[in-house]
Symmetry: C2
Subunit: 425 residues, 2 copies
Amino acid sequence: MSNRVGICGLGTVGSGLFNLFATNLAEIARKTEQVPRLVQVGCRRDHPDCDLSSVAVTRDIFDVARNPDVDILVELIGGTDTARELVLEALANGKHVVTANKALIALHGDELFRVAEQQGLAIRYEAAIAGGIPIVKAIREGLAGNRIDWIAGIINGTSNFILSQMSEPGSNLAFADVLREAQDLGYAEADPTFDVEGIDAAHKLTILASIGLGVPLQFESMYTEGIAGITAADIRFAAELGYTIKHLGIARRSGDAVELRVHPTFVARDQMLAQVNGVMNAVMVGSDAAGQTMYYGAGAGAGPTASAVMADILDICRTDTSVPNAGYVDIRSADVLPISGIRSSYYLRLEVVDKPGVMADVSSILGNHEVSIEALIQKDSRRSDAQIVIITDEVRESAMNECIAELEASAEVLNPVTRIRVASF
Amino acid sequence: MSNRVGICGLGTVGSGLFNLFATNLAEIARKTEQVPRLVQVGCRRDHPDCDLSSVAVTRDIFDVARNPDVDILVELIGGTDTARELVLEALANGKHVVTANKALIALHGDELFRVAEQQGLAIRYEAAIAGGIPIVKAIREGLAGNRIDWIAGIINGTSNFILSQMSEPGSNLAFADVLREAQDLGYAEADPTFDVEGIDAAHKLTILASIGLGVPLQFESMYTEGIAGITAADIRFAAELGYTIKHLGIARRSGDAVELRVHPTFVARDQMLAQVNGVMNAVMVGSDAAGQTMYYGAGAGAGPTASAVMADILDICRTDTSVPNAGYVDIRSADVLPISGIRSSYYLRLEVVDKPGVMADVSSILGNHEVSIEALIQKDSRRSDAQIVIITDEVRESAMNECIAELEASAEVLNPVTRIRVASF
């Protein structure tokens, strides 16, 4: 029985897992005969929340990877270089691996899965995506009988918190102000780039796309756009038009190709994803038999992430290592559609000079590019400039790019056009 | 390898599963080396949607239970008596069982699990609850590291469809009218008792409570109340107070006891469950490590149910039979709190005579029973009678019963008091 666990890293998640062993082992023993045993912790320093007196502690995490008494190494150190070496060392020593490290899997998963496969070992990473939500299990096992057509997820809590705060009725807050609030609350890092630029979400979507659509892990092919450009005006117009702006990761089959994109998105207010607020995450999956299913919960935090790590450990203890690490045994390359090749509806916001005939000129430019209008708002702003806001019908993005270029070249359009894609599900 | 499948029953779900084998086996083969093979179908008559020419067909479903070439029997005949015999026969012949039959598991699960346990066989029933949503897997595996505190689910699509239609802005429709519409659309049976009286939901909650809280299957202890008593007035007042009425199944730990109850419930409009409309299902789970997670999708239909059945089949093919059939290896009895013992907030609607002093008398009766008021609406109805609508703070239901009895005994209260429980999560 493979049930002896070694934890590497005792930060937020590591301490959460350590304490879950302390509090919930009796409850777990009611559910399975294959109860895990925590035998070693590798950490550079102790954690104030953890009493390490009854467990072997090493300051060298590689000790855990070499410890013959450890069957399952849990990698919670973060980063990619040392983490990759650690996991390779653990695999070389015949240990199963559980990790919460999305960057590691997104960037080095192919290599790690290959090595694990040769050894008949499991690499599990439920905690890498959407924290406490068992989304990897849902996709790889719960929906295994389906052909998954698309996945759309709110998979970065920081971005969702910021957009939610900006969308509070009457808030009218700017991105920068809410970001500062998020930092004060500990929901955003001092350097928020990874979260607000969409990189963290892109790591997670890379993994979701691979396990859901059976394509290779290809972070480098992802189109990634963050939320820093969203203004209070966009939030207001979205509400007026019946939408909410969400930062979504979208993976979608498009003929034989796939779309891999992370960007702010208009989501109709009556959609379930539009209701996901604050730091919560949710992933919607569209598949041929089950239809639309959604999975909602906390995307981060010690408890939720430890819950996901523990689920992986328990699966391995039950010797349930027969799910392929990559989700598919037969991963097939598929062309990734460049962002200019997708079809979408768009929200456009134009600041224009306030004089007669502007609307006709804008409409005519749209018409020239066969962009048809689904909804339109025209408003005078506080300055004497006017704003025109448009929701278009579906059109190829390359056509939209040309249309926007012509709009921006017009003397009547005063600033770069704001463009946000509209969700189609 | 246990991968030879026999299907018993070729109704809606059976035909859906048969066609899923036809359409998705190539996709499934990309995900697992343990591809299932459909070897026999037992059905009283053919199904117009299924081409049975390439599979062995028997008109006696018990042939499937005795067929030495079948490893996994899929019970999709419905009902409980013959289904129970069929499953017992299959187990006696060493076959794993997959079923979509909630009544069978809720009423006979203990016996079936015991027999299966002795033989080392799996009984899987993902499709029995919430159709295409992998909720059994989420609870038993995804959240296995947690102590689950409560489960609250919209688990009957018919009831949810009816309440959703009644709640459409401006609808003002009566229950009976919407029921007829649901019957015309095929969302409700000709005899809708099972759905609208809450029995179907109670079967499902019986199973959810057992696998989530580790208590025995005990359908007979369930408090069950349907939606037939909900009026357009209640729907309107709910909206005015910021709530939506949903029919919920709730299982909750309460000290060492558990609450098992199915009834209409006021859910605050900003809760995720309040957003689940039409025939869709959703289950919210509150647990100690992961916090609140929710699972949403289609609760019925050929495709979604077949998706869940196929997931169970694939788990068994991968020899993942190590999850205990009952969810827990150590099921422990717990007292079921009688409904009079729960604590809840309440919505009360009183029709009263329209004269001065009534409000004071009503308030004083509430005060006598230590029921405090959180929100109140007083309105004149079209007739000269007035209505008083109250949301109370949390109070024990036995106290509320006494309070209501005294209100109804008052000459100023004209009709039985309407009482609907308010969700506390």
